[in-house]
């Protein structure tokens, strides 16, 4: 993975590094999210906001909200204020298609976005940054386009509504109104600023320098004249992982100068890698054993889960209980086990030594296998025609229903 030097955020190993191309904790420890929020200048997503979401959508908030997976935001409160007044918004999220194999970590923002789409009844644009991967991962144009289409299928399998969702790849869509906005944004960001935010240097090729506007402009409704004609003031909410924050800090800075609303963000923490120690950043596609893939079989999943929170012997375990701080299966269950009561029960019993590691592993295997199976079934139903339909530049007349 590319490691870009950064000036804004210190990059020596004694500080944590979080940017779109690198995520690593300080001294191989855990990511300090409080520090990150401070550093980036975003807000904590607190209980009161979650309660508001519940009231406005008349349904239980998504498990990722309840468990603090999506934990930070910018202006989400303003979006909710506007929503209450009857002013809708649209969602924008994306994926950099660098590999065919998607793992659960990749699906998290999509699962959450799907919930937001259903709960708030709003449209969604999904950007596949095939150009970015072509540039950063040195893929051929054809390969990155192919990967984009393949990834689109897994994304569609998450359950997005085709009457409210527009998926586009940069290579296909950049041009027209979208490009006009890109140029407007580019004019507002000096080279020095870009180098500061993204860590570009004199050695980087100019393709990389010119990319940030591409990821910025989907936040502006005028980039999609076929979707939002005349709705220039429509707000945008961007669910993403917190490492994408730099792009949108830049965008928010530029927006008022262009007469656009600032996009709001709702940000997630990183999905922990399966290996406990060593690689303490996020689940990574470049290390197959660190991740659960959507193509994994039940057997694969079972083998990949290594329980690390139990004590060395059963007696010792029953005596002191498990180490819930480091235990990976419990972390995973907190992401994916819907039932709050059951999770509490497991944490209590396991933490006090009455439940053994085998049982926790079994429950997690069940949950993950169920998810992966359901995804596979849905994925099998995604045809080439369906991808074409999602990616067609077409109006979405019922987008707010």
């Amino acid at each position: 993975m590319e490691v870009d030097k950064k000036e804004e955020i210190a990059s020596d190993s004694s500080e944590q590094v979080v940017n779109p191309w690198e995520v690593s904790a300080k001294d191989g420890g855990k990511i300090d999210y409080d520090k990150l929020i401070d550093q980036f200048g975003c807000q904590r997503l607190d209980e009161s906001l979650i309660d508001r979401v519940e009231r406005l959508t008349s349904r239980q908030p998504h498990v990722f909200l309840r468990r603090g997976v999506f934990f930070a935001h910018r202006d989400f409160d303003l979006v909710l204020d506007a929503y209450e007044r009857g002013d809708k918004f649209y969602l924008y999220t994306g994926r950099g298609p660098s590999s065919e194999a998607l793992h659960l970590g990749h699906l998290i923002p999509f699962m959450f976005t799907k919930y937001l789409q259903e709960a708030f009844k709003v449209p969604l644009v999904i950007q596949l940054t095939d150009d970015e991967k072509c540039m950063w991962k040195n893929l051929s144009v054809e390969e990155s386009q192919r990967l984009a289409r393949e990834n689109a299928k897994d994304i569609i399998a998450c359950g997005f509504d085709v009457t409210k969702t527009f998926i586009f790849s940069d290579f296909d869509y950049v041009g027209g109104a979208f490009y006009k906005n890109m140029v407007k944004v580019a004019k507002c960001v000096t080279l020095n600023k870009a180098m500061g935010i993204f860590g570009f240097s004199g050695e980087d090729h100019i393709g990389k320098l010119s990319f940030p506007p591409v990821q910025a402009v989907p936040s502006f409704p005028s980039s999609f004249p076929h979707l939002f004609p005349g709705k220039d003031k429509l707000r945008c909410l961007i669910p993403c992982a917190i490492d994408q924050d730099p792009y949108f800090r830049m965008t928010r800075d530029v927006a008022p100068r262009l007469g656009y609303s600032k996009p709001a963000l709702i940000e997630s923490s990183f999905f922990p890698a399966l290996q406990a120690s060593g690689e303490n950043g996020k689940m990574s596609a470049s290390d197959p054993n660190s991740a659960i893939y959507v193509t994994d079989t039940a057997k694969d999943i079972k083998n990949k889960i290594c329980v690390n929170g139990g004590q060395d012997s059963i007696e010792k375990h029953r005596e002191i209980g498990a180490n819930l701080e480091v235990d990976i299966p419990v972390k995973y269950l907190s992401f994916f086990l819907e039932d709050d009561a059951e999770l509490e029960h497991i944490k209590k019993e396991y933490g006090e030594g009455r439940m053994l590691t085998g049982e926790v592993k079994k429950r997690l295997t069940e949950v993950l296998t169920g998810m992966v199976e359901r995804h596979r079934m849905a994925r099998a139903a995604v045809t080439e025609e369906m991808v074409d339909a999602f990616m067609a530049v077409r109006p979405l007349p019922n987008m707010f229903e």
Binding site: E100, E118, E150, I156, G159, F160, D161, V162, T163, T297, A298, K299, E373, R374, R376, M377, A378, A380, A381, T383, E384, E385, M386, D388, A389, F390, A392, R394
Partner: protein
């Protein structure tokens, strides 16, 4: 479009796959083949062409001394104990376009065999070379498994090597480990032997008719058509109203039967809502997406109204 052996050999050469060729009188059995091709040239293979009750086909290619237990294989594929048997002769000619005694992994090069699942003995990987018929039983070729893999890749297939002698437990908590290799599409082969399969000369193209209207689904390049059996019915569930309703009722009644003992009705209703809402919504969205996509496609193909 039935591939001939010459076609195949030329293709192997194009791909720069190293192989040795042995010509001999036509042989129908491994014993006969062994008379002409000595084991110093490579490991002989036995090749089975199998079919399950849902008209899905499999080629199992194994070392001659590997014990292939059909009952175990059937269970591991998730087909129950007696779910798999030798495929009839018509299928051999229709799908693989080879003659008797000529089943070979190479047969999957034919379009007609695109839904045939190919399972290879993992013991092949330890051999320097393995021997197969190149679509004709008067020739044998020996090549390394890497060469076979390269060939399969060139036609968009993944090589699947399995431990054929393993006998894992298959039960409620242990899903069949080979179920993922069950083809997603079934094939109906006409009963009457309408043609002799002579593949020496690239004979008339006969591809088997499919019964299910798998209209828009092109086979996924990813795994060369090896997907779970579950996914076969998944496609129909999202296209066919009856199957859709059946799926919903199946899941609802299953939940009723597992949870409905002794619960009061209100609590049960709550459980239903809680457990089924998200799953059914997901199903419904996929159904909607499928319908929209079909309509969209129809729109792109439709003729403008006559003035």
């Amino acid at each position: 479009m039935g591939f001939s052996k010459d076609h195949l050999l030329a293709r192997l050469q194009e791909l720069q796959i190293d192989y040795s060729k042995y010509e001999h009188p036509p042989v129908l059995t491994v014993e006969e083949q062994a008379k002409y091709v000595s084991s110093s040239e490579g490991a002989l293979s036995k090749n089975l062409f199998l079919k399950d009750k849902k008209n899905r086909y499999y080629i199992v290619s194994a070392m001659t001394d590997t014990k292939v237990d059909m009952k175990v294989l059937s269970q591991r594929l998730g087909l129950g104990k007696g779910g798999i048997r030798m495929a009839p002769e018509e299928a051999l000619s229709e799908l693989l376009q080879v003659s008797l005694g000529c089943v070979t992994p190479f047969a999957v090069v034919n379009e007609s065999a695109r839904d045939v699942s190919l399972l290879l003995d993992q013991k092949f990987k330890n051999q320097t070379r393995c021997i197969f018929h190149p679509l004709s039983n008067d020739v044998s070729i020996s090549l390394n498994t890497l060469g076979l893999d390269k060939f399969l890749q060139s036609i968009g297939r993944d090589s699947v090597y399995i431990d054929l002698e393993a006998n894992p437990v298959v039960g409620k908590d242990q899903p069949p480990d080979l179920a993922v290799y069950v083809p997603s599409n079934s094939v109906v082969v006409p009963e009457l032997p309408t043609k002799t399969a002579s593949i020496q000369t690239a004979s008339k193209n006969v591809s088997a008719e499919k019964t299910k209207p798998v209209a828009s689904a092109k086979p996924s390049k990813l795994a060369g058509n090896v997907k779970s059996a579950v996914e076969d019915s998944a496609l129909l569930v999202f296209k066919n109203p009856e199957k859709f309703v059946e799926e919903i009722l199946d899941k609802t009644t299953a939940l009723l039967l597992s949870e409905g003992k002794g619960e009061n009705v209100e609590a049960l209703a709550e459980t239903f809502r809680k457990r089924l809402t998200s799953e059914f919504t997901h199903l419904a969205v996929m159904y909607k997406n499928t319908a929209y996509s079909q309509g969209f496609y129809a729109g792109t193909q439709s003729q403008p109204k006559r003035p």
